[in-house]
Structures are given as structure tokens and as C-alpha cells.
């Protein structure tokens, strides 16, 4: 890789040990992907919940945080993805004090490094949306795909270590979606059914993700009759990234880099794969379990916007969550604050639901929570969540937000 004078100085240790580790890490990853040089980034976003960090990761962060201040502070605004423990609610969920202690240690380390504890996977809706052409180092698959596709910003999937490295050096290896040539369409899908709600947008993401199947694929989706909302595209992108590891898509007429179908491809578009109502229905059918007792209903992955929280509150008003079922809604700290102020939290919790702040369900020791609470059957309107949570021992069911709430009240899958 070509390194400029500043990068060579960092490699020589002139910026301190943390930055020296960071640039070495970036060179190793960059060489693996044939990056020719580095590109400066304006923001970094770190995924580092304690469940994935473990004791080893928290110790690693703490070691970095113990370096002299000039060596350990990040150089560009660096924010965080959801955490694993909401200190106001963890005892209700039967998370342990050990989990909370690990969380506290990770937070202290991040703060010592100058990282802003935003604890959100909807930073593009709540903190600072990137703009077209802006290079960033974002560390959440849903955030990356939304930022690349909907805003036209440029990021690869930056896992926790590489996002910290980007924060420390202010740059990242120039490969993947930082390069114009990799942002062109590779597959074409034609909608023959218009998604009607968040879970259908997620189910569409599942279909396209399964049909794309690679980080390096860029699906192009035509046939969208009406502009989706930000929340629609949030669920679509999160599911697409989850099922297919996809980091970029085009939706001609909606997303900025491909106003027309011709703009989406380098040359004539390939034949389109149709997506029908039956394809969407098949996603739901794969998780169907009508009549089963439902242990936990989760609205999370990605965290909820204020608009989604209001929908949950409206659906719950005057009703009571079944005594054998737990209903959880997870959002960012900023949105939780707004929901408290507007009475949404009170309305959801008056019906027996729990509103969590700064966490995401699957990042919150999901396996241990299942064992501690006796949970097995999980319902969600998040296609991303139902895709992930099977690995944690849950039996997941995908349904609309309305059906999830109705089932939570009934205590069984409706």
C-alpha cells in the first residue's frame, strides 16, 4: 500500500502505541483486500457490546485506555453502536451484575479514549446523517447499508477493532465501497408486490439478501411504486445486510446514486428476478408457529424511531400484555428521552411493556436472558432479528407489529 508521510509516521510510532497498532491493523486488512492507499474519514462508529467483546475485548480496550492521553484519544468523531445492558432495566430482565460490571468497564475505557457513547444503530436517524460522497467508517451492518444506499455515503463494514483504528488514525483502507467501481449494480430484482409495513420491508430484504448472497453484490430493486419511509428502508436494509451480508443497494427513483435503472449498472442491466407476494409470504411461513405460547415479543434490531414507538404505544393503549409474555421495545438514548417527554414510554409500560434505552436485544446476552427467563418462542416484526436469534437458541416468528402486539396480549402466536 502507498502510505503518505503522516501514515508512515504513525507506523513508526510517532503518534503513540495506540495509533501505531491502528495503522498496522489497517495496513494488514487493506493489503488483504488489495487497497492501494488510505482514505480520510469524517466519522467512525464502533460496535463493541460486552457480549461480543467478552473479558478479552474489554481488557484490550482498557489497556488502550490506560495509555497517555495524547496517545489514546480518537482523532475524528467516534460514536458507539447499542450496548448490552440498560442499567435502568437489567435486573428486570435477569441480566447479572457481572454483565453490568463488564459493561461499565467498557464504557469507562471508551470515554477515556474520547468516544461518544451514543449507543445506537440508528445514528443516521438520530445523531448526524452522512452526506453523499462522505467517507466514513461505520460499524453496524444496518448503518453501513443505509448510509451507502440511502445517503450515498461511503463505508465498508467496519467491525469494532477497525472502527476504533479509524477513529485513532482518521482514515481507513480504500477498498470495497470506498471505490466508485464497486458501487455499481450486480443483480436486478423487480418488485411485483409492494411491501405494506416494516415487517414486509424486512421480508423483502430477506428475499433480496438470500438472492444476493455476498458482501460484494450490489442488488438493484425496481418496481417501487411509492417512496418508502426512512423506517421502511431501515428494516429493508437491516434485513438485506443480515441475510446477505450486503452493504449497498440501489432503488432507482429512490436512492441517490441511481436515479434511473441505466444509472445503476455499468452497461445493460441483467435480466430481472421477479419478487412476488408469494415470495414475501414464504419468508413469514418459514417462521410460522400459530398457537404456540409466545414468551417474548421484541421490537428491536434496528432500534425504534420515535414514530415506531408511537405505533407500539397506540397498539397497546387500553390493553395488557399477557402475564406469561414479556414485551420489549429498544431504542436509542436520544429517542428514549423524547419518548419519556412525550409520554410514549409511560403508555407502553402502563400496558406491561418494557422500553429499553441504548441496547439492542440480540446484543444483550440473548442466550443468557433466555435461560434466566425461560424464554423460547420469540416474536418480532424485525426480519433481521428473527434471522439472528435462532443461533441463540430461540424459536423465532416474524409478524407485523400489529400481530406481534395482539399475540403479546393473547400470550400466544396469533
Amino acid at each position: 500500500m502507498k502510505l503518505n508521510e503522516e501514515e508512515r509516521a504513525l507506523l513508526a510510532g510517532e503518534g503513540g502505541r495506540a495509533r501505531q497498532w491502528a495503522i498496522r491493523h489497517q495496513i494488514e486488512v487493506g493489503r488483504f483486500f488489495d487497497a492501494e492507499d488510505m482514505v480520510e474519514v469524517d466519522q467512525a462508529h464502533v460496535m463493541a457490546d460486552p457480549e461480543s467483546l467478552g473479558e478479552a475485548g474489554v481488557r484490550w480496550l482498557s489497556d488502550m485506555a490506560g495509555l497517555p492521553e495524547a496517545e489514546r484519544r480518537v482523532r475524528v468523531p467516534t460514536i458507539t453502536d447499542p450496548r448490552g445492558v440498560d442499567f435502568a432495566a437489567y435486573k428486570r430482565l435477569h441480566q447479572t451484575d457481572e454483565m453490568a460490571t463488564l459493561e461499565e468497564r467498557a464504557i469507562r475505557a471508551f470515554e477515556a479514549m474520547g468516544v461518544l457513547m451514543t449507543n445506537t444503530c440508528i445514528n443516521y436517524q438520530t445523531i448526524l446523517p452522512p452526506v453523499r460522497g462522505e467517507h466514513v467508517a461505520f460499524g453496524d451492518t444496518g448503518v453501513v447499508i443505509y448510509s451507502n444506499a440511502v445517503f450515498g455515503a461511503r463505508s465498508n463494514f467496519e467491525g469494532g477493532p477497525s472502527a476504533i483504528a479509524a477513529g485513532l488514525t482518521g482514515r481507513t483502507p480504500r477498498y470495497g465501497y470506498h471505490l466508485e467501481k464497486n458501487r455499481l449494480g450486480t443483480k436486478l430484482f423487480e418488485l411485483r408486490h409492494q411491501p405494506k409495513d416494516f415487517s414486509e420491508w424486512g421480508a423483502l430484504g430477506a428475499v433480496v439478501g438470500r438472492g444476493s448472497g455476498s458482501y460484494w453484490a450490489v442488488p438493484v430493486i425496481t418496481g417501487v411504486e411509492n417512496a418508502p419511509t426512512s423506517d421502511d428502508l431501515k428494516h429493508f436494509g437491516a434485513a438485506l445486510a443480515s441475510f446477505g451480508s450486503v452493504a449497498m443497494f440501489h432503488m432507482p427513483g429512490v436512492t441517490p446514486e441511481a436515479p434511473t435503472l441505466a444509472d445503476a449498472f455499468d452497461g445493460p442491466p441483467p435480466p430481472a428476478s421477479p419478487i412476488t407476494a408469494e415470495d414475501i409470504a414464504n419468508v413469514y411461513e418459514g417462521y410460522a408457529a400459530r398457537g404456540d405460547k409466545v414468551d417474548v415479543v421484541v421490537f428491536s434490531a434496528p432500534q425504534l424511531s420515535l414514530i415506531e414507538l408511537e405505533k407500539v404505544a397506540n397498539l397497546l393503549d387500553g390493553r395488557r400484555v399477557h402475564s406469561g409474555t414479556t414485551l420489549i421495545a429498544a431504542t436509542s438514548p436520544e429517542i428514549k428521552f423524547a419518548a419519556d417527554r412525550m409520554g410514549l414510554t409511560r403508555r407502553i409500560e402502563a400496558s406491561g411493556g418494557i422500553v429499553l434505552s441504548g441496547v439492542c436485544f440480540y446484543q444483550s446476552y440473548a442466550r443468557e436472558m433466555a435461560e434466566a427467563n425461560g424464554w423460547s418462542r420469540l416474536m418480532s416484526n424485525s426480519a433481521k432479528l428473527v434471522n439472528i436469534i435462532g443461533g441463540y437458541g430461540y424459536k423465532p416468528t416474524l409478524a407485523t407489529m400489529e400481530r406481534c402486539v395482539d399475540s403479546a396480549v393473547a400470550g400466544k402466536v396469533l
Partner: protein, 138 residues
């Protein structure tokens, strides 16, 4: 006797081990019980298989950024694979392998590595040379 497969130069040290092969994709978060050291996702072709110190030979990487930390955490407890041999990986697995010091290679010249290598076969992974050596092949 041995046969050599050529791939893109990878990450990490040389290692020798027994291959655990499937045509599935992979995520440490989605697929593994990282305490017991087994594949825990029922839908995965390797469900129930012990992955400890096996060379994982798989197709691709699934969404999720958590593997970047999890490989390091698994390595710290010695509940880790010996190496990753994939058709194609995403940035997360490369970042995770780099942090954890685990061998990783992908992009094979001869085609689908999940069909080129047999389950249970003894192999040597040489990331810096871009080679996987099938040690018992004539």
C-alpha cells in the same frame, strides 16, 4: 504426497489441521455457541459440530460485525477454530482474523473450495504464500 490449492494471500500464521467443511456461510454471532465450542444454529449444515481447532472450510460470510471482536475473545479462551478457509470473505472476518491472529485465506484459483477440500481432510494453510496444501492427496 500432497496437492496444493492456490488462493489470494491471506492473514495470520501458517497452521495445520483437520478440515470441517460445508457449503454454508458463517457468522460467529449467528452460528456458534462460543462457550461450548459448537455450531448452535439449527439451520446450519454444521449444526452440533465441534469447531475447536478445526480448519473451517466454508463459502462466505453472513451479515453482522460482531465476529470482528468474537474471534479475539474465542482465541483468548482457546475455544476457536484453527483457521478460516473460505471462498470469499467480507471485511469483518478479515478484521477479526487480523485482531485475533488467526489464519484466514479466500479467493481460490481452482473454484469452490468447499468442494475441493473434503470434510475430515488434513490440510496446511499458508496465508502469506496464498496456499492451502491437501496433505494426504496423491
Amino acid at each position: 504426497m500432497a496437492q496444493t490449492l492456490l488462493c489470494h494471500p491471506g492473514i495470520g500464521p501458517d497452521v495445520e489441521g483437520i478440515a470441517l467443511v460445508a457449503s454454508d456461510d458463517f457468522s460467529a454471532r449467528y452460528d456458534l455457541d462460543r462457550i461450548k465450542g459448537v455450531f448452535s444454529r439449527p439451520a446450519h449444515k454444521l449444526f452440533g459440530e465441534d469447531y475447536r481447532e478445526r480448519v473451517l472450510v466454508l463459502n462466505n460470510v453472513k451479515g453482522g460485525v460482531a465476529s470482528a471482536w468474537m474471534l479475539n475473545e474465542m482465541a483468548s479462551r482457546d475455544v476457536k477454530p484453527a483457521a478460516f478457509v473460505f471462498n470469499r470473505v467480507n471485511p469483518i472476518l478479515a478484521q477479526g482474523a487480523a485482531l485475533a491472529g488467526l489464519p484466514l485465506v479466500d479467493r481460490f484459483a481452482d473454484g469452490d473450495v468447499t468442494t475441493l477440500i473434503c470434510n475430515g481432510e488434513r490440510i496446511r494453510v499458508r496465508p502469506s504464500e496464498g496456499q492451502v496444501i491437501l496433505l494426504d492427496r496423491p
